[in-house]
């Protein structure tokens, strides 16, 4: 059985699965979709009150919560929608254009 981790952009056609089937769950975690981002949310821990309003609003689980606390932003999957920056009442997440 061919695993998703064994297929990449250098794989010859013979090493793809029939119909590009994927034989395991959760493989989107390994796929970098953060490169779509044109603006980046920046987390400021010193302003954060750990209210966690932001986390459930993230459409892509890019706000990482560990032991009941926000630990930061996972940029591999953050697409820069900016919702978290609007939701935060304390200005703890600011929004900055990429490349600046």
């Amino acid at each position: 059985m061919i695993h998703a981790k064994d297929i990449n952009e250098h794989s010859p056609w013979q090493q793809l699965t029939p119909g590009c089937e994927i034989y395991e769950p959760g493989t989107a975690a390994a796929f970098n979709t953060g490169d779509w981002r044109t603006a980046t949310p920046i987390y400021h821990a010193d302003r954060c009150k750990q209210c966690l309003l932001c986390a459930p609003y993230c459409p892509d689980c890019a706000l990482r919560v560990k032991d009941g606390k926000l630990t930061g932003i996972e940029y591999m999957h953050c697409k820069g929608c900016g919702i978290c920056t609007k939701v935060c009442p304390f200005g703890a997440i600011t929004f900055e254009e990429e490349g600046k």
Binding site: E9, W13, L16, G19, C20, E21, Y23, E24, T27
Partner: protein, 394 residues
Amino acid sequence: MARKDRLSGNEAVAFAMKQIDPDVMGAFPITPSTEIPQYFAQYVANGEVNTEYVTVESEHSSMSTCIGASAAGGRAVTATSSCGLALMWELLYVAASDRLPIVLACVNRALSGPININNDHSDSMGARDSGWIQIYAENNQEAYDNFVQAYPIAEAAGVRLPVMICQDGFITSHAVENIELCEDAEVKDFVGEYNPEHYLLKHENPLAVGPYGVSPYYMEAKVAQAHAMMNAKQVILDVGRRFGEMTGRSYGFFESYQLDDAELAILLIGSSAGTARACVDELRAQGKKVGMLKLRVFRPFPAEEIAEALKGCKAVAVMDKTESFSGNGGPLGAEVRGALYDLPTPPRVINYVYGLGGRDFRVEDCAQVFDELAEVAVNGVTGSTYRHIGQREE
């Protein structure tokens, strides 16, 4: 032990479906294929099959039902014609590219417009690039036989492609003919149990079907799909031979009739072969060296085999029962001419469009084709290579 019966083409296909007892049918009516789900509904009501019979709201949905059922791990079946097949278009490509071995009974009918319910091949010929295997029948017996062979071809390792089993609307679908049927147990044994390695309902091995294919993967996916279609060639021959061992009726890519020493040949698909055979017999009785190639498998296209069969001919008429509006002939004409191009001395090829919307193709029409071919072969003046036959002219 075979049993003799008399069935219409639609009855024969529905009976084959009953013997196969697929897991799911996406059922939607459209003339002339309506009778297939209709007869099958009786089998369901009588408890003669275990099939989940899903009455859907359109052909788009019947093919979607088949895709879901097949991805889930079941054998899926449907039947349609004409505009019904056209409404499935998007899903035909999904079924093929997801490599789902669905079987579709296509009862060939003209596409609109003018709206017309009679036979030609414009529906399935339009779907020729959708990635489905296409097998055509001359008569009811072949429609039945082809259907019994469909799943073993579709599900074969290295293939895993959907199969369209085509027959001519009304001409065979509604005409009752003598037919030889296999016993239920023979069909069950021939088709076998369907045990896919991967399927959605296999909970211990989660599966995703039909993922997005970005540019770095799409080309590779399509090359793999193209190779699956090429792999189908050998499987079709193997299954046709195995069917012959069971029934005495073997099948290949096409039937050659009086081709060995033929100088002039007609190449066609479907029920018109009976007419052409009668014409060949008449002309042979007059000492004319004529023959016929009846193409059974259009996808995958057996180009090399056709070239080999026709290499001795001086002129060949390729009969398209569809108009492609290329201004240059039909799809069969283009592909056969392409197949013959690499021969050292290829025959002249005249491509005829005929039989549209149920227009009869008579023995006289076929004789006219051979007359015109004789002109081409004798005088060497090809003239127009794209002709229509059977229409009124002023």
